[in-house]
Amino acid sequence: MARANPNPVVAGVLSALLAGAGQVYNGQRKKGVTYMAVEAAFLILLFTVLRDPLYGLVTLNPVGKFLDSRHILLAGIIAAFVVAAYAWFHIANIVDAARSASSIRAFHALPEDARRISPEYWAPARTLGPYIYIAPSILAAFFVIVIPLAFGILLAFTNYNLYHCPPAGRFDWVGLANFLKLLKPGSSWQNQLTMVLGWNITYALLGTTLAFVSGLVLALILQNRRIRFKGVFRAILMLPWAVPATVSIMVFFGLFNTTFGPINDILKSLGLKAVPWFQDRTWARVSVLLTHVWISTPFNLSIISAALQSIPEEIYEAATVDGASPWQSLAKITFPLLMSIVAPILVLTLAGNFNNFGIIYLLTGGGPAVAGSRGAGATDILMTWVYDLGFRQLQWSTASALAVLVFIFVVIFSLINFRLSGVLRQLREEE
């Protein structure tokens, strides 16, 4: 301890000017020198390796060895994250210098005998331990999730399309043009967006609700004491969850098929008319919902069963003693308690179904086609339309702008979910 009475403000200001300077002023030499080395390393990187990518990120002009616009953007994003990580370190370093200064001050203000406790106790060393454990995951998630997502978001502000397509062409920043195009009232884009969004919300709400209701009905029946062979019924009803969804969807593609599919055969043998499942917009939507309910009911059934079992038996007994009918205890006890337990999961499923890509892509492919559209079909949800815009029409920037809009919807859903499930509060309480 070089200084008995360091000033937190001075320590903070010194560390703001040069990382580690405040720590050295406090007498924490080893830490201070390490921090200084980190800042020096960063500055060297900034003016060598990071310079070209950062310049490229701002202008999207070819620079140095980065010629392909996509590479320029990617390298720029990585460089920007390095800068952000350093900024976080620098701020933490300022806070640390000021806090350490006041701890040391408090320590020296103590009576002599109390000071025999190690000063480390008052200014505990930050250990690297936890960061070593999380580093592999963070790095992997950074390259596989964070950077690609940042890239996707930024593409929404470029003109990356068929005519500006690297490596032959190059794309540039265009600001909010893609969003304005999509949202411009009365335009074909906006009409299309409204149609797709409308069906997307309907699909998510209806699909989630129908699967929940069918799961609820089955769970309640399986809970009933008068029902025998519960194990057998349960095992059969869980089967759709066990079959990989991709397989189930493709099987339903065959079931609904109008040339050889058995569903129309059955309808005809019942004296009904054959249904143009994938050719008619309404029937195509019905087929999507039916497939969805078939696949998702078991998950709902198992969640609801687990929740029902967690409701204590005594509540029902008390209700029966008080003369409640079975229907009353269902409506007044089971249902409210059940909802409070499964609501967070329900909202999460809703958000998931909003982007339930596989079922639509593999079943109807978004079709049937709609006249005068921007490529979206009657069963297209935002995500399948986005995929089509990108991979088939090569309108990457418009597709990305749409994806950003989807993200905003999902965040709103999920915020409600967090509020409901109290995840954030729990995390705060843990610390």
Partner: protein
């Protein structure tokens, strides 16, 4: 409905009997709806490829020709698809588990700057629509020379599994009492030893669940596989099955059926035998 007291059980009034019959009817209907598609595809796999497959559940002239064909026909290389898929799923699951277990331990047992922010960050990652990342992933993989390689796909599967796995593992670790580890620390064990020798054995069930879920995820994944892989020899089961359905020829349907039966069967068996653990692993955090 959910509950019947003993008293009521003895009073067999007609309304009650009717209710029971109705409940059985609903259950049986549901079972038929669940079973029909499965039995249909099973029976299709034994139907001959000549003529339409139809709705009958019993093939007129049952044949094993389709199964023979998917192992011998060079265009329907089931063995290769299956091997590729198993390799991809197993390696992805193990890599994801190895990456996330130590991280979940740190998040559960240690308190450090940035902990809460990172956990919330992982949660937000899961809200992004997958498509947003695809263009960048394709570019990144191209840069790293991993397009059309299984390694590229493994990187995507394992990386994508990180946020969910960390949350699931952390939730389970939180529920394991910390006292046993603390006493080991007092006895001179390092934190790493407390983690590997004490917590991991106690948390074995959730390790299996996370590995299994991360195995099942890539097993029938189609979208990313189709973006990354081109060569037929590297196809996965989902890609192969898709190629059989989009051909639109009804005559391919029995072949498709045979492939999907063999694709689904191992998963159904694994899933049903581990169902209890999967359900409790998934719901443990949410339902207490």
């Amino acid at each position: 409905m959910a509950v019947t007291s003993r008293q009521e059980k003895t009073q067999r009034n007609p309304g009650r009997v009717l209710g029971t019959v109705l409940m059985y009817l609903v259950l049986i209907m549901a079972c038929i709806i669940v079973l029909y598609p499965l039995i249909w595809v099973l029976s299709c796999s034994f139907k001959s490829t000549a003529g339409l497959v139809g709705s009958s559940l019993i093939p007129a002239n049952p044949t094993l020709a389709n199964y023979k064909k998917i192992f011998t026909d060079p265009n329907v290389n089931f063995g290769r698809w299956f091997f590729n898929t198993l390799k991809l799923s197993a390696v992805s699951a193990l890599v994801a588990l190895a990456l996330t277990t130590p991280a979940a331990y740190a998040f559960s047992r240690m308190r450090f700057a940035g902990r809460r922010q990172t956990l919330i960050g992982f949660m937000i990652c899961q809200m992004f629509p997958g498509f947003m990342a695809i263009v960048a992933l394709y570019t990144l993989l191209g840069w790293a020379g991993l397009i059309d390689t299984h390694l590229g796909l493994i990187v995507l599967y394992a990386g994508g599994a990180i946020p969910f796995s960390i949350w699931l593992l952390k939730g389970y670790f939180d529920s394991v009492p910390v006292e046993i580890e603390e006493s080991a620390l007092i006895d001179g064990a390092t934190k790493f030893q407390a983690f590997t020798r004490i917590l991991l054995p106690l948390a074995r069930p959730v390790l299996y669940v996370v590995a299994l879920i991360n195995f099942l995820g890539p097993y029938a994944e189609y979208l990313l596989a189709q973006v990354v892989i081109n060569s037929g020899s590297k196809w996965t089961l989902a890609m192969g099955m898709r190629s059989l359905t989009v051909s639109q020829f009804a005559t391919d349907w029995p072949i498709f059926s045979a492939v999907s039966v063999l694709t689904a069967l191992p998963i159904v068996i694994v899933f049903l035998s581990a169902e209890k653990y999967i359900v409790s692993g998934l719901t443990r955090g949410a339902i207490k």
